[in-house]
């Protein structure tokens, strides 16, 4: 297995795109865009010091967008032989006859896609060092994490799973207005879920680390956090309903940031599915919060030179000093608002058209230590984990209610663990109730790369007994 070292595919993808372009040119269409992507992935699951699963995957596909008379048709295929590509083109052309006409349906101009200055280079995204890791090396890493996590606390009785994952991704975008470019990237991630027991009570705690290559992951930190998150909630009980101060761990605040990210996407706003509609220029936060979407962040796992439509990536200040400055746009939504794309056309895969998506979306950390936030809260609920967020958010009304667990804090010190309570707020109230931002920023890969430090929030309704 280890002898099959990865061979760079950029040129192959380019020639597939150029071939397809030559074929489309024989059809009568106004404009077109071709997207190809290849990913080689490796996943390893360890359970009780043995390899439970080992997966190799290697996939490649093409997605074709046809613009005809202001209508768009889309088709994709994984079969890259000539007949199939021809068939894919024909289906995209056919689909362009089904969809509605929209005056903004045309490609980004050559000016918008011209790379004046590459803000992010290939070396930042791609690590040769990942290719040097053999399967055995990766298995050893995962086994090491399993052992480390188990050794952190006596009450950790089981490691439910350790999963190691890495990927090598390459992509090319080519369009009929002259854009044609490629990039490649690597990524690596490791995850552990620790089960702990004390008396009759069972608790779980998970954590992960990620980077461009396994060498960038701090295994000891991952093990320590997973064990701590698991055992600290042992013996937890419900608390009385009420309105309290809440301190959110970055794992939790990141999920709230995810909701904010969804609500600043221009398509959500234009389709009236966002509480930030008609709020540009308004003060949303009570304190000076800065939130950026930065596609050029050097350590950001969602950094890339250009977006899913070939528009160059940059850094967008979405909230500055607490004020809403802009939404995030792809080409279509930008034209609708008479502005320019912010380079936020995201392609989940070759199976989907470029929708508005985030890159590295984060809240700027302050200098406040976690200890200061804890002290400033005094009494309140330190939330370590939440569940049910996807079920408990209504993006249209902005209402949020989720299940939470964590520690009750008395006079800045942990008093007792808490579980089976819900916290309820809404997006705008949540933004207004943020009182302090920590310095301990942590990023989570989740439909982009979302980052937040711990947040101190006041006046949150919790419901328990």
């Amino acid at each position: 297995m280890n002898n099959n070292k990865y061979k760079i595919r950029g040129e192959k993808l380019l020639s597939i795109c150029k071939d397809a372009a030559a074929r489309i040119n024989k059809h009568k269409v106004d404009e077109f865009e071709i997207f190809t992507a290849s990913s080689v992935e490796n996943e390893i699951e360890i359970f009780k010091e043995k390899v439970e699963k080992l997966t190799f995957s290697d996939s490649i596909g093409i997605g074709i967008r046809i613009f005809n008379d202001k209508s768009i048709g889309y088709a994709y295929t994984t079969v890259l032989e000539e007949d199939s590509i021809e068939d894919c083109i024909e289906r995209a052309v056919y689909n362009s006859r089904v969809t509605a006409k929209e005056e903004y349906n045309f490609l980004p101009s050559a000016e918008e896609t011209a790379i004046k200055e590459k803000l992010i280079s290939d070396d930042l995204l791609f690590r040769e060092s990942l290719l040097e890791y053999s399967i055995e090396d990766k298995i050893a890493l995962a086994k090491k994490l399993e052992k480390l996590t188990g050794s952190k606390d006596k009450r950790v009785v089981d490691i439910e799973s350790v999963t190691y994952y890495d990927s090598i991704y390459e992509t090319v975008v080519l369009n009929s207005s002259g854009f044609c470019d490629k990039y490649k990237s690597t990524g690596s991630m490791i995850y552990v879920n620790a089960i702990s027991k004390e008396g009759e009570d069972t608790s779980t705690g998970d954590y992960f680390g990620c980077g461009r290559s396994p060498s960038e992951i701090n295994l000891n930190e991952v093990a320590e956090k997973a064990a701590e998150r698991s055992v600290s909630i042992l013996g937890a009980e419900k608390i009385k309903s009420g309105v309290v101060n809440v301190l959110m761990d970055p794992v939790v605040s990141n999920q709230f940031m995810g909701i904010i990210a969804d609500s600043v996407k221009a398509d959500s706003v234009q389709k009236k599915k966002s509480v930030f509609r008609d709020k540009i220029g308004e003060k949303i936060f009570s304190i000076d919060v800065n939130i950026f979407d930065d596609g050029t962040l050097p350590e950001g796992l969602s950094s890339m030179p250009f977006d899913g439509e070939g528009v160059i990536k940059g850094k967008t200040g979405v909230f500055e000093k607490g004020y809403l400055k802009t939404y995030l746009y792809n080409t279509f939504t930008a034209r609708k608002d008479n502005t320019f794309s912010t380079g936020n056309a995201a392609r989940a895969s070759y199976r989907s058209t470029p929708e508005v998506g985030i890159s590295n979306f984060y809240i700027e950390p302050s200098r406040n230590s976690f200890g200061k936030l804890l002290k400033d809260m005094g009494n309140g609920f330190y939330v370590i984990d939440i569940i049910g967020l996807h079920a408990g958010v209504n993006p249209i009304s902005g209402q949020i209610s989720v299940g939470a667990k964590g520690l009750w804090i008395n006079n800045g010190k942990p008093s007792h663990p808490v579980k089976e309570v819900t916290i309820a707020t809404d997006i705008l109230s949540f933004c207004k109730s943020i009182k302090e931002i920590g310095s301990d920023i942590k990023f989570t890969p989740s439909g982009g790369y979302i980052g937040s430090p711990s947040l101190l929030v006041d006046n949150i309704a919790i419901s328990g007994k």
Partner: protein, 464 residues
């Protein structure tokens, strides 16, 4: 799709380095999706994918690889690479392939490929019009119509060989209504393992009316009470509570890892006596039904709970062998890119004896939860959360005002014991379930049930 001879050759190559078991899963898949929003068809996408997944076992380890191609040379190359990852001593050979039979046989009447795009477009246009005509407070309708035609072939070194053609059709409708400052949504979907004859079951217009009705009802929603309350859970989609809070914990992979609250509980009383539950992939045309699971095992009905006693877990081939129990035909995979794992199909709490009306009457002050926005569970602890998307207060045994944004939070084991009454109005609802990064189609089901106490998390409202 691939000749017998070639399949056998590939299965043998996979065993080449002393593996214990080998399998090939071949899939061809055509997809069409149409999306309507703002009264316009805004997306029309077609996809064509094919490929095969190769799996082998050596001891307790599973090795998996896939290739986006059905070309013999490519598959053989991938098989060689995969088998080289094994260093085993097993001497097993591939058995002669015998075709597996299945109790599931369902005729398809209107293949999606025979329905032209104009007709599909008209379905969405009709949905849009009906939803909007229902009430002038409706401000947005988003509707999605998709169909899949698939061919699969599965063979393994034990000699099992299965093949099937699968057709699935889905229509989902999301309606947004607005009155003064209140916004509310209503969601309904119709999904079956069949072609466009699905609309003989239910007209798209009827479904559209139902989605609008929920949104309009919820416009007048008041803040939900908080704290522990008796909760009556409505039929059909109410079954999601059983799916999330119990079903996942009964999936045998979690049991084998001792990461489930239902570990070592077979034969024990885990629920109140009124509870009978099953997982059944043999129900014709249901969204979670199939002829064969992702490992080629025929569809099957598995009793999970009988009179409150836990009877069976949900198994795939690997978990059933490890546990020494019979396969239940629940080894499912999202596609050829994925390893089969134990998954639910159509999972439901079976009918009881009580009249749903008398169940409601027995509650003086509580919540009636009718539709849910989904949920999440930690199988290791049984802790769960559900968002109620359509719910009402119960006052004096009658359904009262609608409530907004309430969630239910609790523990699966605890709730099962608190089911006090089970109605006689069993119904099902389709949905999607995600696990380990794989999404598969499921149905949930139940009659009206009453849970004596669940913690209800309410809403903090801006106008309070």
């Amino acid at each position: 799709m691939i000749e017998y001879k070639v399949i056998k050759k590939i299965l043998n190559i996979l065993l080449g380095n002393g593996a214990d078991f080998s399998e090939i899963f071949v899939q061809k898949r055509s997809f069409n999706g149409l999306r309507l929003e703002d009264s316009k068809i805004e997306n029309s996408t077609s996809g064509y994918e094919l490929g095969c997944g190769l799996r082998l076992w050596s001891g307790d380890s599973t090795f998996y690889a896939y290739v986006d191609s059905l070309r013999e040379d490519k598959i053989i190359n991938t098989a060689r690479v995969l088998s080289s990852a094994v260093n085993g001593s097993s001497l097993v050979k591939v058995m002669d392939l015998t075709e597996t039979s299945s109790p599931y046989n369902a005729e398809i009447k209107k293949y999606p490929s025979d329905v032209n795009a104009e007709n599909k477009k008209n379905i969405l246009k009709l949905v849009d019009k009906t939803s909007r005509d229902f009430n002038s407070a409706v401000i947005q309708v988003t509707s999605f119509l998709s169909d899949v035609e698939e061919e699969i072939l599965i063979a393994n070194s034990y000699g099992a060989f299965s093949s099937d053609k699968i057709v699935k059709t889905l229509l989902s409708i999301n309606v947004v209504a607005k009155k003064r400052n209140n916004t509310a949504t209503g969601y309904k979907s119709l999904a079956r393992t069949m072609g466009y004859e699905v609309f003989d079951f239910k007209e798209p217009a009827e479904l559209a009316g139902e989605a609008s009705e929920i949104a309009i009802n919820m416009l007048d929603a008041v803040n939900a009470p908080t704290g522990e309350l008796p909760v009556v859970i409505g039929p059909a989609f109410g079954g999601v509570i059983f799916h999330e809070a119990c079903g996942h914990g009964l999936e045998a992979d979690a049991i084998l890892k001792d990461a489930s609250v239902f570990s070592r509980k077979i034969g024990k009383k885990i629920a109140s006596e009124a509870v009978n539950a099953a997982d059944d992939s043999t129900i014709k045309y249901r969204w979670g039904s199939y002829k064969f699971d992702g490992e080629g095992f025929p569809s099957h009905k598995t009793v999970l709970i009988k009179d409150g006693i836990l009877k069976n877990y949900i198994n795939d081939l690997k978990t059933s062998r490890k546990m020494g129990v019979k396969q239940t035909g629940n080894g499912r995979r999202q596609s050829f890119r994925d390893i089969p794992i134990p998954r639910m199909t159509n999972t439901y709490i079976d009918n009881g004896n009580e009249d749903p009306k008398s169940i409601l009457k027995s509650v003086n002050k509580g919540i009636y939860a009718k539709e849910f926005a989904g949920g999440q569970v930690d199988p290791a602890t049984g802790d769960f959360v559900f968002g109620i998307s359509e719910g009402y207060l119960i006052e004096g045994g009658k359904i009262g005002l609608p409530i907004k944004n309430a969630i239910l939070i609790g523990n699966g084991l605890d709730i099962l014991k608190k089911i006090e009454a089970v109605g006689n109005d069993l119904d099902f609802a389709p949905g999607f379930c995600g696990k380990n990064g794989q999404t598969v189609s499921n149905e949930v089901g139940q009659p009206t049930i009453k849970v004596s106490r669940i913690t209800v998390g309410g809403t903090k409202s801006q106008d309070e």
